[in-house]
Point group: D2
């Protein structure tokens, strides 16, 4: 297993849709931030620094699978628990549990709002292209920081 | 199988991130619009009308699984092909293929940028709550319009 | 003068555009959250509660004027200083200074990133319409909480 | 006066907030796209091409002033009429009128939803910095294309 880092989000009025619940693309906005904060929290430099040092420009998504369990709305505070569930040769599985403190329940157990497993790669630019990218092998120094 | 409806998106500068490619939560923004346009394209009224007629406020997500195949950037035009792959008792599988016209290739076959399968429900409000929702059975009239 | 409330924002990778600086519509996203947090910080209930009690559904914008002074990028932490500069009969001027701690300067004075003056109203729904709104006089109880 | 270019936007469910009207930061998202489409419509190359040719990375905002006249909601189609109201030495004023076709009125005159005047600059990167930018004089070839 990897380290686990928590990223905290306040749900705002503008994050909610006419049904008065979080408009779901916003969960992916927060999960993307949680993904980067996981690496920062593990001590990995920001991508604009790694781009200069090793060419790595970020960890784009290859595949994502999310389950929406309960709704959230504005005023809620969400804790996104982030870890890396699996390391592969050129990709890794990043796992997220979006939890809400449940002040009203007796047990006080937090509510699971959403769970998500992502496959991401470490990417560098393809030479001769402004936008094309390619996967690079998992950098051992970054992996060591995360474990 | 259901009808298939195409929703067209222009990728804008602000849809792209510092890696100069579409920031992935925007794909879900467009897919959510494509989901609604599918129903509109099939002749289903907008949700603020169905809410008055039958209490249905929309089709929130239960589960989504997306694969990101190629990157896209600003200047691209994307066609989102949307259909319903499966009807269940209280949910349905909505399927999306995000395609980009490939002007440069010999064959001219469009590029698959992203594919996504969603499980959605038809939702109504729970009585006595401003934000809680509940699944309702698939409305036969809406299903008939989509097939 | 009114109270002043500070709302803090972390700038994320996805908030930045291909020029690697904050894409400006995101400043308005944060300012809208700062507007609401100002009222919450002053003790005003959330709008879904005021809607039930007095019909007020929020404080929509009538007019906004913003100056962009310095750029910001991901990794920055921004403090949005919010106050009410003027109360009018049916509107008010809400004022924002978006500041970034400047760790590198000798003086350590924070950088002004953006300044914004907004005219907002207190709004209620128009009867018989799902979307039309109307301005209501400044609620004295809300004003008293803010001063 | 300059050319006038129209950029058309469909308002989507997710563009609207719990008050069921367009959440205002989305207007700036559309205006930013309209700004770029103005230049594209006048025959100016995309910014990733101008960056290579002349170092220009885009036209960041210096100042914006917007008036919100009527609300819009999902299902609406908006036409953003864009022109350049004034050329200065190192900046220009870009003007927007966001109009909605008014199918219900007798006269059929379109509704003005929002009006906006922006001051923008042509920007290039500052040497030695990944994010700092500087204003450059109005490129005469770009100005000629817009008039």
């Amino acid at each position: 297993m990897s380290k686990q880092i928590i990223y905290t989000v306040r749900v705002e009025f503008g994050d909610c849709d006419p049904a008065r619940i979080v408009w779901f693309p916003n969960f992916f906005r927060w999960i993307d931030a949680a993904s980067r904060h996981f690496f920062v929290g593990c001590g990995v430099p920001p991508w604009h620094e790694t781009e200069k040092a090793s060419g790595i420009i970020g960890t784009p998504l290859v595949d994502t699978h999310a389950r929406f369990v309960k709704t959230a709305s504005y005023g809620d505070t969400l804790n996104i628990h982030t870890s890396i569930a699996e390391w592969r040769d050129k990709s890794f599985v990043q796992r997220y549990s979006v939890m809400r403190d449940n002040l009203e329940s007796d047990a006080g157990a937090p509510d699971l709002i959403m769970a998500c497993d992502e496959v991401r790669i470490f990417a560098a630019r393809r030479e001769g292209s402004a936008t094309a990218i390619r996967a690079v092998p998992i950098p051992p120094d970054i992996r060591a920081l995360c474990e």
